[in-house]
Protein backbone atom coordinates (compact mmCIF):
# COMPACT_ATOMS: atom_id res chain seq x y z
CA UNK A 1 0.00 0.00 0.00
CA UNK A 2 1.38 3.43 -0.95
CA UNK A 3 1.91 5.96 1.88
CA UNK A 4 -0.91 8.19 0.68
CA UNK A 5 -3.29 5.22 0.67
CA UNK A 6 -2.24 4.40 4.22
CA UNK A 7 -3.03 7.94 5.28
CA UNK A 8 -6.39 7.81 3.51
CA UNK A 9 -7.17 4.53 5.23
CA UNK A 10 -6.21 5.99 8.60
CA UNK A 11 -8.26 9.16 8.14
CA UNK A 12 -11.24 7.07 7.11
CA UNK A 13 -11.08 5.46 10.52
CA UNK A 14 -12.12 8.72 12.12
CA UNK A 15 -15.56 8.12 13.55
CA UNK A 16 -17.96 9.47 16.12
CA UNK A 17 -20.89 8.04 17.99
CA UNK A 18 -23.72 9.72 19.83
CA UNK A 19 -24.84 9.82 23.40
CA UNK A 20 -28.22 8.14 23.18
CA UNK A 21 -29.84 10.19 25.92
CA UNK A 22 -28.81 13.49 24.37
CA UNK A 23 -29.67 12.18 20.93
CA UNK A 24 -33.26 11.53 22.02
CA UNK A 25 -33.45 14.97 23.60
CA UNK A 26 -32.41 16.62 20.37
CA UNK A 27 -34.79 14.54 18.31
CA UNK A 28 -37.65 15.45 20.67
CA UNK A 29 -36.71 19.10 20.33
CA UNK A 30 -36.68 18.87 16.53
CA UNK A 31 -40.08 17.22 16.47
CA UNK A 32 -41.46 19.91 18.77
CA UNK A 33 -40.03 22.68 16.58
CA UNK A 34 -41.35 20.97 13.49
CA UNK A 35 -44.80 20.58 14.99
CA UNK A 36 -44.94 24.25 15.99
CA UNK A 37 -43.78 25.30 12.55
CA UNK A 38 -46.46 23.18 10.91
CA UNK A 39 -49.18 24.60 13.15
CA UNK A 40 -47.99 28.12 12.50
CA UNK A 41 -47.98 27.47 8.78
CA UNK A 42 -51.48 26.04 8.85
CA UNK A 43 -52.78 28.98 10.87
CA UNK A 44 -51.34 31.45 8.42
CA UNK A 45 -52.96 32.66 5.26
CA UNK A 46 -53.00 30.43 2.26
CA UNK A 47 -49.38 30.42 1.21
CA UNK A 48 -49.61 27.36 -0.96
CA UNK A 49 -52.90 26.80 -2.66
CA UNK A 50 -51.98 23.29 -3.61
CA UNK A 51 -51.02 22.22 -0.14
CA UNK A 52 -54.02 20.63 1.35
CA UNK A 53 -55.26 17.66 3.20
CA UNK A 54 -57.63 15.45 1.38
CA UNK A 55 -58.92 11.98 1.41
CA UNK A 56 -59.58 9.66 -1.43
CA UNK A 57 -61.24 6.33 -1.85
CA UNK A 58 -60.62 2.93 -3.22
CA UNK A 59 -62.00 -0.55 -3.06
CA UNK A 60 -61.11 -2.89 -0.22
CA UNK A 61 -57.66 -3.89 -1.40
CA UNK A 62 -55.36 -2.11 0.95
CA UNK A 63 -52.37 -4.35 1.20
CA UNK A 64 -53.13 -6.21 -1.96
CA UNK A 65 -52.76 -2.79 -3.47
CA UNK A 66 -55.06 -2.80 -6.44
CA UNK A 67 -56.46 0.67 -6.24
CA UNK A 68 -59.66 1.31 -8.03
CA UNK A 69 -61.64 4.35 -7.16
CA UNK A 70 -65.34 3.81 -7.22
CA UNK A 71 -66.85 4.77 -10.51
CA UNK A 72 -70.16 6.53 -10.35
CA UNK A 73 -73.09 6.48 -12.67
CA UNK A 74 -75.13 8.98 -14.58
CA UNK A 75 -77.76 10.07 -12.12
CA UNK A 76 -79.19 13.52 -12.36
CA UNK A 77 -78.06 15.54 -9.41
CA UNK A 78 -80.86 16.49 -7.07
CA UNK A 79 -78.93 18.86 -4.92
CA UNK A 80 -78.50 22.58 -5.24
CA UNK A 81 -75.60 24.67 -4.09
CA UNK A 82 -76.87 27.42 -1.91
CA UNK A 83 -73.73 28.73 -0.25
CA UNK A 84 -72.05 31.56 -2.12
CA UNK A 85 -68.63 30.96 -0.55
CA UNK A 86 -68.00 27.71 -2.26
CA UNK A 87 -69.29 25.67 -5.14
CA UNK A 88 -67.94 22.40 -6.41
CA UNK A 89 -67.37 23.90 -9.85
CA UNK A 90 -64.69 26.07 -8.29
CA UNK A 91 -63.00 22.99 -6.91
CA UNK A 92 -63.25 21.30 -10.28
CA UNK A 93 -61.55 24.28 -11.93
CA UNK A 94 -58.75 24.35 -9.38
CA UNK A 95 -58.06 20.63 -9.66
CA UNK A 96 -57.54 20.66 -13.42
CA UNK A 97 -53.94 21.82 -13.16
CA UNK A 98 -52.83 19.11 -10.74
CA UNK A 99 -51.42 15.93 -12.23
CA UNK A 100 -49.92 14.45 -9.09
CA UNK A 101 -51.21 13.60 -5.66
CA UNK A 102 -49.91 12.21 -2.44
CA UNK A 103 -52.28 10.82 0.12
CA UNK A 104 -51.92 8.89 3.31
CA UNK A 105 -54.30 7.42 5.81
CA UNK A 106 -55.89 4.10 6.54
CA UNK A 107 -58.02 1.59 4.73
CA UNK A 108 -59.53 -1.71 5.69
CA UNK A 109 -57.92 -4.91 4.50
CA UNK A 110 -59.87 -8.00 3.56
CA UNK A 111 -60.09 -9.04 7.20
CA UNK A 112 -61.56 -5.66 8.10
CA UNK A 113 -58.39 -4.55 9.84
CA UNK A 114 -57.17 -0.98 9.42
CA UNK A 115 -53.94 -0.69 7.46
CA UNK A 116 -52.07 2.56 7.07
CA UNK A 117 -51.00 3.57 3.59
CA UNK A 118 -49.25 6.22 1.57
CA UNK A 119 -49.91 6.73 -2.12
CA UNK A 120 -48.15 8.79 -4.75
CA UNK A 121 -49.77 8.89 -8.15
CA UNK A 122 -49.52 10.72 -11.47
CA UNK A 123 -52.50 11.15 -13.75
CA UNK A 124 -52.67 10.13 -17.37
CA UNK A 125 -52.97 12.84 -20.00
CA UNK A 126 -56.75 12.84 -19.83
CA UNK A 127 -56.80 12.87 -16.02
CA UNK A 128 -59.08 9.87 -16.01
CA UNK A 129 -56.79 7.38 -14.25
CA UNK A 130 -53.29 7.15 -12.86
CA UNK A 131 -50.38 6.46 -15.16
CA UNK A 132 -47.86 5.92 -12.41
CA UNK A 133 -48.55 4.90 -8.87
CA UNK A 134 -46.68 4.02 -5.73
CA UNK A 135 -48.44 2.56 -2.71
CA UNK A 136 -46.68 1.76 0.53
CA UNK A 137 -48.80 0.02 3.13
CA UNK A 138 -48.05 -0.02 6.83
CA UNK A 139 -47.75 -3.80 6.77
CA UNK A 140 -44.76 -3.53 4.43
CA UNK A 141 -46.54 -4.27 1.15
CA UNK A 142 -45.38 -2.02 -1.65
CA UNK A 143 -46.92 -1.59 -5.08
CA UNK A 144 -45.23 0.45 -7.76
CA UNK A 145 -46.79 0.96 -11.16
CA UNK A 146 -45.04 2.62 -14.06
CA UNK A 147 -46.08 2.90 -17.67
CA UNK A 148 -44.32 -0.30 -18.57
CA UNK A 149 -44.24 -2.53 -15.53
CA UNK A 150 -46.00 -3.05 -12.22
CA UNK A 151 -44.33 -4.45 -9.12
CA UNK A 152 -46.00 -5.73 -5.99
CA UNK A 153 -43.81 -6.62 -3.05
CA UNK A 154 -45.10 -9.01 -0.41
CA UNK A 155 -42.75 -8.84 2.59
CA UNK A 156 -44.26 -11.93 4.23
CA UNK A 157 -43.53 -14.15 1.25
CA UNK A 158 -40.51 -12.01 0.30
CA UNK A 159 -41.66 -12.04 -3.30
CA UNK A 160 -42.06 -9.39 -5.96
CA UNK A 161 -44.91 -9.99 -8.32
CA UNK A 162 -44.21 -8.37 -11.69
CA UNK A 163 -46.82 -7.50 -14.29
CA UNK A 164 -46.11 -6.10 -17.71
CA UNK A 165 -48.25 -3.02 -18.10
CA UNK A 166 -50.61 -1.62 -15.53
CA UNK A 167 -51.10 -3.97 -12.60
CA UNK A 168 -53.05 -1.41 -10.63
CA UNK A 169 -54.39 2.03 -11.21
CA UNK A 170 -56.18 4.83 -9.50
CA UNK A 171 -59.30 5.01 -11.58
CA UNK A 172 -61.02 7.34 -11.88
CA UNK A 173 -58.38 9.92 -11.09
CA UNK A 174 -59.47 11.99 -8.07
CA UNK A 175 -59.38 15.23 -9.98
CA UNK A 176 -61.67 17.47 -11.94
CA UNK A 177 -63.38 14.75 -14.00
CA UNK A 178 -64.05 12.74 -10.91
CA UNK A 179 -65.67 15.59 -9.02
CA UNK A 180 -67.74 16.53 -12.03
CA UNK A 181 -68.94 12.95 -12.07
CA UNK A 182 -69.72 13.13 -8.37
CA UNK A 183 -71.69 16.29 -8.91
CA UNK A 184 -73.83 14.58 -11.52
CA UNK A 185 -74.32 11.21 -9.93
CA UNK A 186 -74.51 10.95 -6.18
CA UNK A 187 -77.72 11.05 -4.16
CA UNK A 188 -78.75 12.94 -0.99
CA UNK A 189 -75.98 15.50 -1.32
CA UNK A 190 -75.93 17.56 1.84
CA UNK A 191 -73.66 20.49 2.71
CA UNK A 192 -72.78 22.08 6.00
CA UNK A 193 -70.29 24.77 6.91
CA UNK A 194 -67.77 24.72 9.73
CA UNK A 195 -64.17 25.29 10.68
CA UNK A 196 -61.24 22.94 10.82
CA UNK A 197 -60.42 22.75 14.55
CA UNK A 198 -56.70 22.39 13.90
CA UNK A 199 -56.28 25.34 11.57
CA UNK A 200 -59.43 27.40 12.13
CA UNK A 201 -59.92 27.55 8.38
CA UNK A 202 -63.40 27.59 6.87
CA UNK A 203 -64.59 24.25 5.64
CA UNK A 204 -67.52 22.82 3.71
CA UNK A 205 -68.56 19.31 4.69
CA UNK A 206 -70.51 17.27 2.18
CA UNK A 207 -72.17 13.91 2.71
CA UNK A 208 -73.73 11.79 0.00
CA UNK A 209 -74.40 8.22 -0.94
CA UNK A 210 -75.16 5.89 -3.80
CA UNK A 211 -77.05 2.58 -3.62
CA UNK A 212 -75.15 0.77 -6.35
CA UNK A 213 -71.55 1.65 -7.02
CA UNK A 214 -71.68 -1.40 -7.39
CA UNK A 215 -72.84 -1.99 -3.81
CA UNK A 216 -74.10 0.70 -1.42
CA UNK A 217 -71.57 3.43 -0.78
CA UNK A 218 -71.58 6.60 1.26
CA UNK A 219 -69.06 9.41 1.48
CA UNK A 220 -67.98 12.31 3.57
CA UNK A 221 -66.11 15.10 1.81
CA UNK A 222 -64.35 18.09 3.26
CA UNK A 223 -63.54 21.13 1.13
CA UNK A 224 -61.39 24.10 2.06
CA UNK A 225 -63.43 27.23 1.35
CA UNK A 226 -60.48 29.47 0.58
CA UNK A 227 -58.49 27.17 -1.68
CA UNK A 228 -61.63 25.47 -3.05
CA UNK A 229 -59.76 22.19 -2.79
CA UNK A 230 -61.07 18.89 -1.56
CA UNK A 231 -59.42 18.48 1.81
CA UNK A 232 -61.01 15.37 3.18
CA UNK A 233 -62.81 12.23 2.12
CA UNK A 234 -64.02 9.00 3.65
CA UNK A 235 -65.86 6.16 2.02
CA UNK A 236 -68.08 3.51 3.61
CA UNK A 237 -69.58 0.38 2.09
CA UNK A 238 -73.03 1.22 3.38
CA UNK A 239 -75.52 4.01 2.80
CA UNK A 240 -75.34 5.56 6.27
CA UNK A 241 -71.64 6.07 6.98
CA UNK A 242 -71.71 3.49 9.72
CA UNK A 243 -68.60 1.85 11.18
CA UNK A 244 -65.05 2.31 10.03
CA UNK A 245 -64.68 3.85 6.58
CA UNK A 246 -63.19 1.42 4.11
CA UNK A 247 -60.97 4.21 2.87
CA UNK A 248 -59.87 7.12 4.99
CA UNK A 249 -56.97 9.05 3.53
CA UNK A 250 -55.91 11.48 6.19
CA UNK A 251 -53.54 13.56 4.16
CA UNK A 252 -53.49 14.30 0.47
CA UNK A 253 -51.39 16.85 -1.32
CA UNK A 254 -51.93 17.90 -4.90
CA UNK A 255 -48.91 18.47 -7.11
CA UNK A 256 -48.63 19.89 -10.56
CA UNK A 257 -46.24 17.02 -11.22
CA UNK A 258 -44.25 14.35 -9.38
CA UNK A 259 -40.73 13.13 -10.19
CA UNK A 260 -40.59 9.92 -12.23
CA UNK A 261 -38.03 8.44 -9.90
CA UNK A 262 -40.76 8.03 -7.29
CA UNK A 263 -42.13 5.28 -9.46
CA UNK A 264 -38.95 3.31 -9.83
CA UNK A 265 -38.85 0.06 -7.94
CA UNK A 266 -35.80 -1.75 -6.70
CA UNK A 267 -36.30 -5.42 -5.98
CA UNK A 268 -35.33 -6.00 -2.34
CA UNK A 269 -32.26 -8.11 -1.83
CA UNK A 270 -33.14 -11.78 -1.55
CA UNK A 271 -36.71 -11.34 -2.77
CA UNK A 272 -37.94 -13.85 -5.33
CA UNK A 273 -39.64 -12.50 -8.43
CA UNK A 274 -42.77 -14.03 -9.91
CA UNK A 275 -44.70 -13.20 -13.03
CA UNK A 276 -48.07 -11.95 -11.82
CA UNK A 277 -49.94 -13.23 -14.86
CA UNK A 278 -48.42 -16.71 -14.52
CA UNK A 279 -49.17 -16.59 -10.81
CA UNK A 280 -52.81 -15.75 -11.45
CA UNK A 281 -53.12 -18.39 -14.18
CA UNK A 282 -51.61 -21.03 -11.87
CA UNK A 283 -54.21 -20.21 -9.25
CA UNK A 284 -57.00 -20.74 -11.77
CA UNK A 285 -56.22 -24.33 -12.69
CA UNK A 286 -58.68 -26.20 -10.48
CA UNK A 287 -60.75 -28.44 -12.81
CA UNK A 288 -63.74 -28.13 -10.46
CA UNK A 289 -64.00 -24.42 -11.22
CA UNK A 290 -65.00 -22.61 -14.36
CA UNK A 291 -67.24 -23.58 -17.24
CA UNK A 292 -66.65 -26.61 -19.50
CA UNK A 293 -66.42 -25.51 -23.13
CA UNK A 294 -67.62 -28.80 -24.65
CA UNK A 295 -68.17 -28.09 -28.35
CA UNK A 296 -68.20 -24.33 -28.02
CA UNK A 297 -65.68 -22.20 -29.83
CA UNK A 298 -63.54 -19.87 -27.74
CA UNK A 299 -65.64 -16.92 -28.89
CA UNK A 300 -68.89 -18.65 -27.93
CA UNK A 301 -67.49 -19.79 -24.58
CA UNK A 302 -66.20 -16.31 -23.84
CA UNK A 303 -69.58 -14.69 -24.27
CA UNK A 304 -71.41 -17.53 -22.53
CA UNK A 305 -69.31 -17.55 -19.35
CA UNK A 306 -69.53 -13.78 -19.04
CA UNK A 307 -73.31 -13.96 -19.51
CA UNK A 308 -73.61 -16.73 -16.89
CA UNK A 309 -71.37 -14.88 -14.48
CA UNK A 310 -73.24 -11.58 -14.52
CA UNK A 311 -76.60 -13.34 -14.52
CA UNK A 312 -75.49 -15.20 -11.38
CA UNK A 313 -74.56 -11.87 -9.80
CA UNK A 314 -77.98 -10.46 -10.72
CA UNK A 315 -79.63 -13.60 -9.27
CA UNK A 316 -77.47 -13.45 -6.13
CA UNK A 317 -76.33 -16.99 -6.92
CA UNK A 318 -73.02 -16.64 -5.12
CA UNK A 319 -72.04 -20.31 -5.43
CA UNK A 320 -72.13 -20.06 -9.21
CA UNK A 321 -70.30 -16.75 -9.08
CA UNK A 322 -67.53 -18.37 -7.04
CA UNK A 323 -67.31 -21.34 -9.43
CA UNK A 324 -67.09 -19.16 -12.51
CA UNK A 325 -64.74 -16.66 -10.92
CA UNK A 326 -62.77 -18.71 -8.38
CA UNK A 327 -60.56 -15.95 -7.04
CA UNK A 328 -62.83 -15.54 -4.02
CA UNK A 329 -65.36 -17.57 -2.06
CA UNK A 330 -69.14 -17.34 -2.38
CA UNK A 331 -69.27 -15.46 0.92
CA UNK A 332 -66.70 -12.95 -0.28
CA UNK A 333 -68.61 -12.34 -3.50
CA UNK A 334 -71.83 -11.89 -1.59
CA UNK A 335 -70.12 -9.34 0.61
CA UNK A 336 -68.62 -7.53 -2.36
CA UNK A 337 -71.92 -7.16 -4.18
CA UNK A 338 -74.04 -6.72 -1.06
CA UNK A 339 -76.92 -4.37 -1.63
CA UNK A 340 -76.30 -4.15 -5.33
CA UNK A 341 -79.30 -3.62 -7.53
CA UNK A 342 -78.23 -5.05 -10.85
CA UNK A 343 -81.35 -5.77 -12.91
CA UNK A 344 -80.41 -7.23 -16.28
CA UNK A 345 -77.72 -7.73 -18.87
CA UNK A 346 -78.26 -5.30 -21.71
CA UNK A 347 -75.46 -6.21 -24.08
CA UNK A 348 -72.43 -8.45 -24.45
CA UNK A 349 -69.69 -7.51 -26.88
CA UNK A 350 -67.70 -9.81 -29.13
CA UNK A 351 -64.56 -11.11 -27.40
CA UNK A 352 -61.45 -9.09 -28.11
CA UNK A 353 -57.85 -8.80 -26.95
CA UNK A 354 -56.92 -5.70 -24.97
CA UNK A 355 -53.34 -4.42 -25.18
CA UNK A 356 -51.50 -5.27 -22.00
CA UNK A 357 -53.96 -7.88 -20.79
CA UNK A 358 -52.05 -11.14 -20.68
CA UNK A 359 -54.70 -13.16 -18.86
CA UNK A 360 -57.12 -13.72 -21.69
CA UNK A 361 -59.80 -12.23 -23.90
CA UNK A 362 -62.23 -9.56 -22.84
CA UNK A 363 -65.99 -9.32 -23.19
CA UNK A 364 -67.63 -5.99 -22.39
CA UNK A 365 -70.85 -6.50 -20.51
CA UNK A 366 -73.37 -3.67 -20.25
CA UNK A 367 -75.63 -4.04 -17.25
CA UNK A 368 -78.77 -2.16 -16.27
CA UNK A 369 -79.48 -1.34 -12.66
CA UNK A 370 -82.87 -1.16 -10.94
CA UNK A 371 -82.88 2.61 -11.29
CA UNK A 372 -82.32 2.32 -15.05
CA UNK A 373 -78.70 3.30 -14.91
CA UNK A 374 -76.40 1.28 -17.10
CA UNK A 375 -72.76 0.42 -16.79
CA UNK A 376 -70.23 -1.44 -18.94
CA UNK A 377 -67.72 -3.75 -17.28
CA UNK A 378 -64.86 -5.37 -19.16
CA UNK A 379 -64.63 -8.99 -18.04
CA UNK A 380 -61.54 -11.12 -18.67
CA UNK A 381 -61.91 -14.78 -19.66
CA UNK A 382 -59.07 -17.28 -19.25
CA UNK A 383 -59.04 -20.52 -21.29
CA UNK A 384 -57.63 -23.74 -19.86
CA UNK A 385 -57.06 -27.32 -20.87
CA UNK A 386 -56.94 -29.64 -17.88
CA UNK A 387 -56.83 -33.43 -18.37
CA UNK A 388 -57.73 -32.93 -22.03
CA UNK A 389 -60.89 -31.05 -21.06
CA UNK A 390 -61.28 -27.47 -22.31
CA UNK A 391 -62.81 -24.98 -19.93
CA UNK A 392 -62.70 -21.31 -19.07
CA UNK A 393 -62.94 -19.10 -15.99
CA UNK A 394 -63.49 -15.44 -15.26
CA UNK A 395 -60.01 -14.19 -14.41
CA UNK A 396 -60.97 -10.65 -13.43
CA UNK A 397 -62.11 -7.37 -14.83
CA UNK A 398 -60.18 -4.85 -16.87
CA UNK A 399 -60.47 -1.49 -15.22
CA UNK A 400 -62.84 -0.57 -12.47
CA UNK A 401 -65.70 -2.85 -11.57
Amino acid sequence: MRPSEKIEELVRQFDVDVNTFRDHQILDELQQVHSEAEQSRNRGSLTCLWRTIMRSYTTKTAAAAVIVLIALFGITSLHQFTAPAWAIDQTVDVLRKFNGIYCSGTMLDEQGKEVSFEIWAKANAEQTASDNLRLEAGNGHVTVVSKTTSYRYDPDANTVSITEGYGAAMQPWPGAHFLESMKRTVLDWSESYGKDPATDRDRVYVTCSHPAAPGPRSWWFEFDVESKLLVGLKQWENMSRQGLPIFNAKSITYYEDLPDELFHFEIPEGAATVNAVDERINKLQDPNDGMPMADMTEEQACVEIVRRYWQAVIDHDWQTVAVLRPVATAEQWESKYAGGTLAEIIELSEPYQEDGCGLGKIVSCTIRFDNDLTRTIKTIVLFREIDNERSCVIAGTWGSE
Partner: protein
Amino acid sequence: MIEDRLLILRFKHGSSDALCRIYKKYRIYLLKLATALLHDVSLAEDTVHDVFLRFAKSSDGIKLSGSLKGYLRTCVVNDVRNKVRAQRIRPAVGLDDIDPPDANSGRPDQWIICKDRSRRISDALAQVPLEQREVVVLHLHGDMKFREIAKLQAVSIKTIQSRYRYGLDKLRSILDSEVER
Protein backbone atom coordinates in the same frame (compact mmCIF):
# COMPACT_ATOMS: atom_id res chain seq x y z
CA MET B 1 -32.03 8.43 -3.50
CA ILE B 2 -35.65 7.41 -4.07
CA GLU B 3 -36.09 6.82 -0.38
CA ASP B 4 -34.80 10.32 0.27
CA ARG B 5 -37.23 11.83 -2.24
CA LEU B 6 -40.05 10.01 -0.49
CA LEU B 7 -38.80 11.18 2.89
CA ILE B 8 -38.63 14.77 1.70
CA LEU B 9 -42.12 14.61 0.24
CA ARG B 10 -43.48 13.21 3.48
CA PHE B 11 -41.58 15.79 5.47
CA LYS B 12 -42.96 18.57 3.30
CA HIS B 13 -46.46 17.44 4.06
CA GLY B 14 -45.71 17.70 7.73
CA SER B 15 -44.67 14.17 8.61
CA SER B 16 -42.84 14.08 11.90
CA ASP B 17 -41.88 10.46 11.21
CA ALA B 18 -40.09 11.55 8.06
CA LEU B 19 -38.13 14.15 10.02
CA CYS B 20 -37.21 11.46 12.53
CA ARG B 21 -36.00 9.13 9.79
CA ILE B 22 -33.98 11.85 8.10
CA TYR B 23 -32.40 12.74 11.42
CA LYS B 24 -31.50 9.17 12.26
CA LYS B 25 -30.20 8.52 8.77
CA TYR B 26 -27.84 11.48 8.56
CA ARG B 27 -26.97 12.75 12.01
CA ILE B 28 -23.87 10.57 12.47
CA TYR B 29 -22.64 11.41 8.98
CA LEU B 30 -23.07 15.13 9.62
CA LEU B 31 -21.61 15.01 13.12
CA LYS B 32 -18.57 13.21 11.80
CA LEU B 33 -18.09 15.82 9.09
CA ALA B 34 -18.53 18.73 11.46
CA THR B 35 -16.24 17.25 14.09
CA ALA B 36 -13.52 16.43 11.59
CA LEU B 37 -13.73 19.90 10.07
CA LEU B 38 -13.94 21.85 13.32
CA HIS B 39 -11.84 19.86 15.80
CA ASP B 40 -14.25 21.18 18.38
CA VAL B 41 -16.95 18.92 19.78
CA SER B 42 -19.12 21.71 21.13
CA LEU B 43 -19.03 23.65 17.88
CA ALA B 44 -19.67 20.50 15.87
CA GLU B 45 -22.67 19.69 18.02
CA ASP B 46 -23.95 23.25 17.67
CA THR B 47 -23.45 23.17 13.92
CA VAL B 48 -25.40 19.98 13.30
CA HIS B 49 -28.02 20.94 15.87
CA ASP B 50 -28.54 24.30 14.16
CA VAL B 51 -28.75 22.71 10.72
CA PHE B 52 -31.42 20.26 11.86
CA LEU B 53 -33.34 22.98 13.70
CA ARG B 54 -33.48 25.14 10.59
CA PHE B 55 -34.40 22.09 8.56
CA ALA B 56 -37.23 21.17 10.94
CA LYS B 57 -38.66 24.68 10.80
CA SER B 58 -38.61 25.12 7.06
CA SER B 59 -40.22 22.07 5.52
CA ASP B 60 -42.23 24.15 3.07
CA GLY B 61 -39.26 26.23 1.97
CA ILE B 62 -36.88 23.41 1.13
CA LYS B 63 -36.20 23.05 -2.56
CA LEU B 64 -33.79 20.28 -3.39
CA SER B 65 -31.97 20.41 -6.69
CA GLY B 66 -29.77 17.46 -5.75
CA SER B 67 -29.74 14.86 -3.04
CA LEU B 68 -30.96 15.30 0.51
CA LYS B 69 -27.60 14.12 1.77
CA GLY B 70 -25.84 16.74 -0.34
CA TYR B 71 -28.22 19.42 0.83
CA LEU B 72 -27.62 18.68 4.51
CA ARG B 73 -23.88 18.35 3.92
CA THR B 74 -23.75 21.76 2.24
CA CYS B 75 -25.67 23.26 5.14
CA VAL B 76 -23.15 21.82 7.59
CA VAL B 77 -20.13 22.93 5.55
CA ASN B 78 -21.49 26.46 5.24
CA ASP B 79 -22.21 26.55 8.96
CA VAL B 80 -18.74 25.23 9.70
CA ARG B 81 -17.21 28.03 7.65
CA ASN B 82 -19.27 30.61 9.52
CA LYS B 83 -18.26 29.14 12.82
CA VAL B 84 -14.60 28.98 11.85
CA ARG B 85 -14.73 32.67 11.01
CA ALA B 86 -16.33 33.40 14.35
CA GLN B 87 -13.94 31.04 16.12
CA ARG B 88 -11.00 33.16 15.04
CA ILE B 89 -12.05 35.73 17.58
CA ARG B 90 -12.52 33.32 20.47
CA PRO B 91 -10.61 30.30 21.81
CA ALA B 92 -11.74 26.89 20.66
CA VAL B 93 -12.57 23.92 22.81
CA GLY B 94 -10.61 21.02 21.37
CA LEU B 95 -11.31 17.36 21.57
CA ASP B 96 -8.67 17.08 24.26
CA ASP B 97 -10.28 19.78 26.34
CA ILE B 98 -13.32 17.74 27.20
CA ASP B 99 -13.63 14.93 29.66
CA PRO B 100 -12.98 11.45 28.34
CA PRO B 101 -16.31 10.16 27.15
CA ASP B 102 -18.03 7.21 28.65
CA ALA B 103 -18.92 5.02 25.72
CA ASN B 104 -21.93 3.58 27.48
CA SER B 105 -23.68 6.49 29.02
CA GLY B 106 -21.96 9.77 28.25
CA ARG B 107 -22.74 13.05 29.97
CA PRO B 108 -26.31 14.17 29.52
CA ASP B 109 -25.26 17.43 27.89
CA GLN B 110 -22.81 15.80 25.50
CA TRP B 111 -24.01 14.55 22.17
CA ILE B 112 -20.86 13.37 20.38
CA ILE B 113 -18.81 10.47 21.60
CA CYS B 114 -15.35 10.32 20.12
CA LYS B 115 -13.00 7.40 20.66
CA ASP B 116 -9.25 7.71 21.27
CA ARG B 117 -8.11 6.87 17.77
CA SER B 118 -10.57 9.36 16.33
CA ARG B 119 -9.26 12.00 18.70
CA ARG B 120 -5.74 11.49 17.42
CA ILE B 121 -6.90 11.71 13.84
CA SER B 122 -8.86 14.84 14.64
CA ASP B 123 -5.83 16.36 16.32
CA ALA B 124 -3.85 15.72 13.18
CA LEU B 125 -6.56 17.12 10.92
CA ALA B 126 -6.68 20.25 13.06
CA GLN B 127 -3.09 20.98 12.10
CA VAL B 128 -3.91 20.92 8.40
CA PRO B 129 -4.92 24.28 6.91
CA LEU B 130 -8.68 24.60 6.71
CA GLU B 131 -8.92 24.65 2.92
CA GLN B 132 -6.87 21.45 2.66
CA ARG B 133 -8.64 19.86 5.61
CA GLU B 134 -12.00 20.56 4.03
CA VAL B 135 -10.96 18.78 0.84
CA VAL B 136 -9.58 15.78 2.70
CA VAL B 137 -12.59 15.47 4.98
CA LEU B 138 -15.20 16.04 2.30
CA HIS B 139 -13.51 13.54 0.00
CA LEU B 140 -12.83 10.82 2.55
CA HIS B 141 -15.82 11.29 4.83
CA GLY B 142 -18.26 13.31 2.80
CA ASP B 143 -18.16 10.90 -0.16
CA MET B 144 -17.66 13.90 -2.44
CA LYS B 145 -15.82 13.83 -5.73
CA PHE B 146 -13.12 16.42 -6.40
CA ARG B 147 -15.39 17.96 -9.01
CA GLU B 148 -18.11 18.48 -6.42
CA ILE B 149 -15.67 19.94 -3.90
CA ALA B 150 -14.27 22.26 -6.56
CA LYS B 151 -17.76 23.57 -7.17
CA LEU B 152 -18.35 24.00 -3.45
CA GLN B 153 -15.07 25.87 -2.93
CA ALA B 154 -15.44 27.73 -6.23
CA VAL B 155 -11.96 26.75 -7.47
CA SER B 156 -10.64 24.47 -10.20
CA ILE B 157 -10.38 20.71 -9.86
CA LYS B 158 -6.61 20.99 -10.14
CA THR B 159 -6.55 23.29 -7.15
CA ILE B 160 -8.65 20.80 -5.21
CA GLN B 161 -6.34 17.94 -6.19
CA SER B 162 -3.36 19.99 -5.04
CA ARG B 163 -5.03 20.83 -1.76
CA TYR B 164 -5.84 17.18 -1.25
CA ARG B 165 -2.29 16.11 -1.97
CA TYR B 166 -0.81 18.77 0.31
CA GLY B 167 -3.30 17.87 2.98
CA LEU B 168 -2.37 14.20 2.86
CA ASP B 169 1.35 15.08 2.92
CA LYS B 170 0.81 17.17 6.02
CA LEU B 171 -1.15 14.41 7.66
CA ARG B 172 1.52 11.90 6.78
CA SER B 173 4.16 13.94 8.49
CA ILE B 174 1.97 14.21 11.59
CA LEU B 175 0.67 10.67 11.61
CA ASP B 176 3.79 8.81 10.51
CA SER B 177 3.96 6.80 13.68
CA GLU B 178 0.28 5.86 13.40
CA VAL B 179 0.71 4.75 9.82
CA GLU B 180 3.62 2.53 10.74
CA ARG B 181 1.60 0.71 13.38
